[in-house]
Symmetry: C2
Subunit: 395 residues, 2 copies
């Protein structure tokens, strides 16, 4: 019969969505200049010319029967090899095509990776602030997501709480660095310490504990920032990636899962992902996107605007008096709510309704008392919004 579980969910809009919809309505009613929309994470720069040229070239010159035919279940070999080679070149790893599973974006990669290594009765640990979609990704496998509270001073890992929450049910630890929503990048010190804890816990509990790394913002790291490749520091690891942000292709659903060659059962995890696809009806990403990505594997869009915006916003917000941990990458930052109550939901709605300043309360990311700014917008919009942030500071 009609699923009550999914039916009940349809009524409930996410808070992010509510702010996004408010912004759209206000723009329609009062004009686009009345809205300063910092609520969404859609890349604001175009993809590369190299990607567009590759796409056209493939479609114009390819044999359509071969080009649009079924991909092999585990992905196009040439695409898998290009991804492995690029990771090896850049991060000194030793992936082969057999360790790579092309997916429909990071969502596809994560849901396959989690199903590979966690299930009913097990726990996946992640760290606040975190992307709320981790909840359905994990609960869809039957496992339970538990969230280690944030280290609000640095947005690195709160190791004290991590040790407290670790138990033998933990099958995987899920990290997102560079981080949505904080803009933080885990330092080499943080990753080393995490690897040390997990290695110790593996020995203590006598079973493998996988590190799943969600890395769609890997290429958006600001000048001089230390941004280690986490899989380099821990063997039982699966890297999940999307080209959504680096090549500005979020709608084209192309990414991958890369299994550390040193992981337990490394040679089995990609074939297992192939089996998982049969149960979710997911299958491969499109053949066309696999062929196109292969040709531009090391290219990125011009991502410099995100750093320009981060610098400007950080300078102005701290001048006004906001407390902000300086972002090290992505196109997000997570200042503290300036109001006395510290109620982010209240403050964000007031700023939205009175000023058209649309941000998102941190509660959705288990980061109360904070709000997220998405600055994948024209720099001019930020300049115009600064006086509004000044006004909202008085709320």
């Amino acid at each position: 019969m009609i699923s009550e579980f999914y039916k009940e969910m349809t009524g409930k809009e996410s808070v992010i969505r509510q702010f996004f919809d408010f912004a759209r309505k206000r723009a329609a009613e009062m004009g686009p200049d009345s809205v300063f929309n910092f609520s969404i994470g859609n890349p604001s720069v175009p993809t590369t010319e190299s990607f567009t040229r590759a796409l056209i070239d493939i479609v114009e010159k390819g044999d359509p029967v071969k080009l649009h035919g079924y991909s092999p279940t585990l992905g196009q070999d040439s695409t898998k090899k290009a991804i492995a080679d690029s990771l090896n070149r850049r991060f000194g790893m030793n992936y082969t095509a057999a360790h790579i599973f092309p997916t429909s974006g990071a969502a596809g990669a994560l849901s396959h990776a989690i199903r590979c290594v966690a299930g009913k009765g097990e726990t996946v640990l992640t760290f606040a602030p975190y992307f709320p979609e981790y909840n359905p990704y994990v609960s869809g496998t039957g496992a339970e997501l538990k969230v280690v509270p944030a280290d609000f001073e640095s947005f690195q890992i709160n190791f004290e709480k991590l040790e407290e929450m670790f138990d033998e049910k933990v099958a995987a630890v899920l990290i997102n660095s560079p981080n949505n929503p904080s803009g933080m990048v885990y330092t080499t010190e943080t990753i080393k310490k995490l690897a040390e804890v997990m290695t110790r816990k593996q020995e203590e509990y006598g079973h493998e504990i996988f590190l799943i790394t969600d890395e769609p913002y890997r290429e958006i790291v600001f000048t001089g920032v230390d941004s280690p490749f986490p899989s380099k520091f821990y063997d039982n690891s699966i890297c999940c990636y999307s080209f959504s942000k680096s090549l500005s292709l979020p709608g084209e659903r192309i990414g991958y899962m890369a299994v550390n060659p040193a992981a337990k059962d490394a040679e089995l995890l990609v074939p297992m992902a192939g089996q998982i696809s049969r149960f979710t009806g997911h299958n491969c990403p499109t053949a066309l996107m696999q062929f196109a990505i292969e040709r531009v594997i090391d290219d990125t869009s011009d991502l410099s605007i995100y750093e320009t915006n981060a610098e400007l916003l950080f300078k102005e917000l701290t001048r006004i008096g906001y407390k902000v941990v300086k972002p090290m990458g992505t196109f997000y930052m997570m200042p503290r709510v300036p109001s006395e109550s510290g109620d982010a939901n209240e403050w964000c709605w007031k700023a939205a309704r009175e000023l058209g300043l649309i941000t998102v309360p941190g509660d959705s990311f288990e980061c109360p008392g904070h709000f997220r700014i998405s600055y994948c917008v024209p720099t001019e919009m930020i300049e115009k919004a600064i006086p509004l942030f000044e006004k909202a500071f008085q709320f």
Copy 2:
């Protein structure tokens, strides 16, 4: 920990895959002329020029930020409207954009549709011969797939067995017409009778029973064949479609789920599918494919070769003495195994090893004593294979 469930599956290759791999190996060792591969269902005709032109035009002229941006969760409105309008025009239905959910091919459509209306403790009924991937699609939801035995004389529905197997646990009935692997199309009489049984059972058990129709071969119906649109005859229905076969795009993963506007909770089922995607990490099909399909919604590749091949094979096989139900569409047929034992597995392997004649035993489709021929191949290959079918008839 590493999932034992998926791990164990990796060792087991499907029988279809084993024959396919045998064909590839034999071709590599003895040359391509030594293999007559009738084992796979990959369209052999190119997509339309209109599709290729649409794709290039969209990529060349579109604003890349908008073109490659995130699709709305429930799909591009313009694409949804084009699909609804086309179905209404062709089949006299009254879909709106809100009833259409674009998916990654029929696999995506089916796995969403089944999750919408069936779950743990419930049964989904389907009819032999059937596509074996229905097993993971259904078991992935927690429901159980039960297979009504074939009517071997006509490959229409075995209504006697259907009535026997129907009980109150049945949440959905899943049909595939035109049918892979039999090539049969359910007649208006069959569909009407099925609707009558299901309507009666709904009343008897006091709950809705959904008809899920898997229709990727809808456009491959031979001259003069009666091919009704099943949703026209039953309100609680969800049509699942893929452009894989009609436009020869299996690798591009584009299809849809169309909810009958007269179904119970019709307005909720598409938003429910959107929620389901969050749990499977599935999301929308690519933005590019949605935009392209919209422009060629009523076009098909030149599908006439499949009918030519069907006629030739049917004429020659019946002349030799094979018992074959004449296919009415698709690019499959399902003759009886001519050997005395009737063991399809044995007969198919013998034909493969001794003659390079690659077909697939019917056991995988719960159709023992039969074998599947996929004739999406050049007609010349069929002409050359006829003497081999003559030899194999003596096995």
